[in-house]
Amino acid sequence: MLEPQILWPALLNGLTMGAIYALIALGLTLVYGVLHIINFAHGSLLMLGLYAVFFLFKFWKVDPYVALLALVPGMFALGYALQRLVIGRGSHGKDENILLVTLGLSIIIENLALHFFGSETRQIETAYSSAMVNIAGASLTVPRVAASAGALTCCAILWLIMARTDLGRAIRAIAKERQGARLVGIDVEHIFAMSFGIGLACLGAAACFLLPAFYVSPQVGHTFVLVAFTVVVLGGMGSFVGSLVGGFAVGVVESFGGLMLGESLGQIGVFVIFIAVLLFRPSGLFGHKV
């Protein structure tokens, strides 16, 4: 069982999936770091993005990677509007209320998708879907490699935005000291909505990279939401480096879990990590003490 010709592809599989997880989790951790809220609808919004990519391809033959140009700004606008119009209003100063509001959102999105798109699993077939590349003896599909490269590029761009632009400075200022940021003239509500928008833009990008290598169904959001939370909690809520490391770690654990425990029981690894981290080290690997 522990032969390298099995372990090496499993490791690579885990790492490529992990890069996507990291990108999905980045959006979640950004929103948490700035707004201190947990967006339970993150997975459902990713599902919405996946459907957008799917229908763009099906009806207008838009290549998933070209769809980035539509999905990233589109999801950004959706996020900005959601935060301003829906989520920001329901809190009454309690974080649990935001969790309930975003739970409501995820129920709405998932069931509307179920009603209008049906419950079947859909995939797209592109010219490069089943092309393979060989990495040191392990075969990987081209979309998988492209997905992890794209995800890492997005992470780098996001890091640049956070480190080098005024927007990034404003976001970091609010994350550190909300009242102080307001006092020096930062429009806090606007930056909240910008952060939420950027979080969803990450999802838009993730959807474009994910679909050629994956599939979409109304339930797919549910699959991703706990994985994304696990990544974020493992890395430390609000930590960017943590999301990257957490994403790779969860991807690899999932891959090896499936290999060693079988299809069904293998899913348990992610949940066990999630519970264990929350119980024994709630600040995660790279987070600050809460």
């Binding site: 329901g90 935001i98 309930l100 509001v101 129920i107 069931n111 029981l265 348990i268 519970i275 119980l279």
Partner: protein
């Protein structure tokens, strides 16, 4: 007992008496089933209400207790041939034990708020994966209860049998809620909800109070699972441990009014009516009803955080009942 405790007890008794007489006037099988399902949902909501409403600990994974109860009933009957009425007791104990275990772990390490909600969801998923894996629980195929009609087997030929069973479960839930409203333990629990640090400073053993609440809540939820299995004679991992049940339980409590005695009942009947109306208007579209529930959840949290009961109370206050409340409060 204080006068207000006596008054609400009398109200509960009157309500239950009216509900007990109701089947005598209902000839249609459809409406009887409607009542049974609404009461069943109310019982789940009341279980969630004990921990979430009175204790302020929002669980997203109450399906784990429901599933433990459902599988306890199914496994004990199918594998060991134990009478389903006996499994009801076993499920109550196992549900409580699961609650105690999860509570001991999470509250010991101080998880609260959103983190508690997420960790309960993860626990429910762990149970789902386990039930999905082992042959003992029927794995992915699920478990079917053998058809054996008869009141002694908890498989009533007439629907009224199920009606009175679920009415008794709801009655027990109402008594628990009433007790929480008017007992010392309930006061501690409410204090923990309102301000944990202040409660601790006043000498409340926060950990034990929360542990008691989740144990009670888990035991109550598990009885709902047994009822489900006996009513539908089938259970599988997504039905038992999936998000649907968890959402249903928290939804009826929030819509009706968290931390109130009748909140879950009002929420359950409201949702049942919403479901019925949408079905009449646009045909059977369960997904659309669910989407409507989600919308209702957002509207409630945003505009009526105290639920329908809280909304009705403040409406009553606005409509001229105000002069009375001046001295009372």
């Amino acid at each position: 007992m204080t006068p207000s405790a006596v008054r609400s007890l009398l109200f509960i008794v009157a309500f239950l008496a009216a509900m007990a007489l109701l089947p005598a006037f209902i000839r249609s099988e459809f409406w009887l089933t409607f009542l049974i399902l609404a009461l069943y949902t109310a019982s789940l909501g009341q279980a969630w209400n004990v921990l979430g409403g009175f204790g302020g600990q929002y669980s997203f994974g109450h399906a784990m207790f429901f599933g433990v109860g459902a599988y306890a009933a199914a496994v004990l009957q199918v594998r060991f041939g134990i009478n389903p009425w006996v499994t009801l007791g076993a499920a109550f104990v196992l549900g409580g034990a699961t609650g105690a275990m999860v509570g001991a772990l999470t509250f010991r390490y101080g998880l609260k708020g959103s983190y508690f909600a997420l960790v309960t969801l993860a626990f429910a998923e762990v149970f789902r994966v386990l039930a999905n894996t082992f042959e003992f629980t029927g794995a992915g195929v699920g478990m079917m209860i053998k058809l054996a009609p008869g009141a002694a087997n908890f498989q009533f030929v007439a629907k009224t049998g199920f009606y009175f069973t679920i009415l008794s479960i709801v009655a027990a839930g109402l008594m628990v809620a009433w007790w929480l409203k008017h007992s010392r333990f309930g006061a501690w629990l409410t204090a923990v909800r309102e301000n944990e640090d202040a409660a601790r400073a006043l000498g409340v053993d926060v950990f034990r109070v929360k542990l008691g609440a989740i144990t009670l809540s888990g035991a109550m939820m598990a009885t709902g699972g047994v009822f489900y299995v006996q009513m539908f004679q089938y259970i599988d991992p997504p039905l038992a441990f999936g998000a649907g049940i968890s959402v249903e339980a928290l939804l009826v409590a929030i819509v009706g009014g968290m931390g109130s005695i009748f909140g879950p009942l009002i929420g359950a009947f409201t949702l049942a009516l919403v479901n019925h109306t949408t079905t009449e208007l646009i045909g059977r579209a369960p997904a659309l009803s669910m989407a409507l529930y989600g919308l209702l959840l957002i509207v409630m949290v945003t505009f009526l955080p105290n639920g329908l009961i809280g909304g009705l109370a403040s409406l009553a206050r606005r409509l001229g009942l105000r002069q009375r409340s001046g001295g009372d409060e």
